[in-house]
Symmetry: C2
Subunit: 147 residues, 2 copies
């Protein structure tokens, strides 16, 4: 069973190489532009009312994967699915960004942590009632070796 997916837009970022990249959007103050292709513009109606968006995209520079990896924030190996590492069986990424402004089919966002020209698959509104969890445990991240 295979599925075909097709970008609905492009994420523009100031980062053109992997070594320039911030680790996770919450650690990034970089501004970027989410260009939604014109044919999907009507799907953005009312988006100005939301402060944060979930971007779903392709890690387009990712190739192959390993099931145990050393994440950027730790010196030990962990199961791939306990990390946000970009080399994955399905190289799909997820970032929460702050929406600064909208001009037609272009969104200016803050907190970009993707490469320039990242293919956008979907935008979902960040909804605190759905997306915030309390009383959590975060495994290796709580005893990681890097800040």
């Amino acid at each position: 069973m295979k599925f075909t997916i097709q970008p609905i837009g492009t994420i523009h970022s100031p980062f053109s190489t992997k070594d320039q990249m911030p680790i996770q959007s919450i650690r990034s103050t970089a501004h970027g532009k989410v260009e939604v292709f014109k044919e999907f513009e009507a799907g953005l109606d009312g988006i100005e009312g939301f402060s944060h968006l979930i971007l779903i995209y392709i890690f387009h520079k990712s190739e192959g994967y390993q099931l145990r990896v050393k994440p950027f924030l730790d010196d030990h190996e962990h199961g791939l699915f306990t990390t946000r590492y970009p080399y994955r069986p399905n190289p799909i990424g997820l970032s929460i960004v702050e929406l600064i402004s909208r001009e037609g089919n272009n969104l200016t966002v803050k907190g970009v942590d993707v490469l320039e020209n990242t293919p956008l698959l979907d935008i979902k509104p960040y909804m605190p009632d759905f997306d915030i969890r309390h009383n959590f445990r975060a495994g290796w991240y709580e005893t990681r070796s890097k800040p």
Copy 2:
């Protein structure tokens, strides 16, 4: 530009038809099973340390889409990308579930809001430092017509 994606597992849920479905995982107390295919099992190493997981999957019963939709929680139409509506250009869904236990390549989770046999694309750890945002605005959701 097209991408091919292939499931890494299957989500089992008590819901076999759409009208049985809870709206959003945070409103669901249903238990389900995330079956990760054996070949990917090593990627789960250490996942027991995490209380919550982000599941990324295909809305496999979704067909077509409209760019303006009436979400389940409101009587007014809104841009598709301001909603979590399942009929999308790329029918990719995202749910945050609570991890109850792991038995090999099977995860028992709580808060399932997907249909039985949903194709799983990825698992990412829920990391409060990355995934919790404060000072948010949630557009139409804040003045919606349904509880």
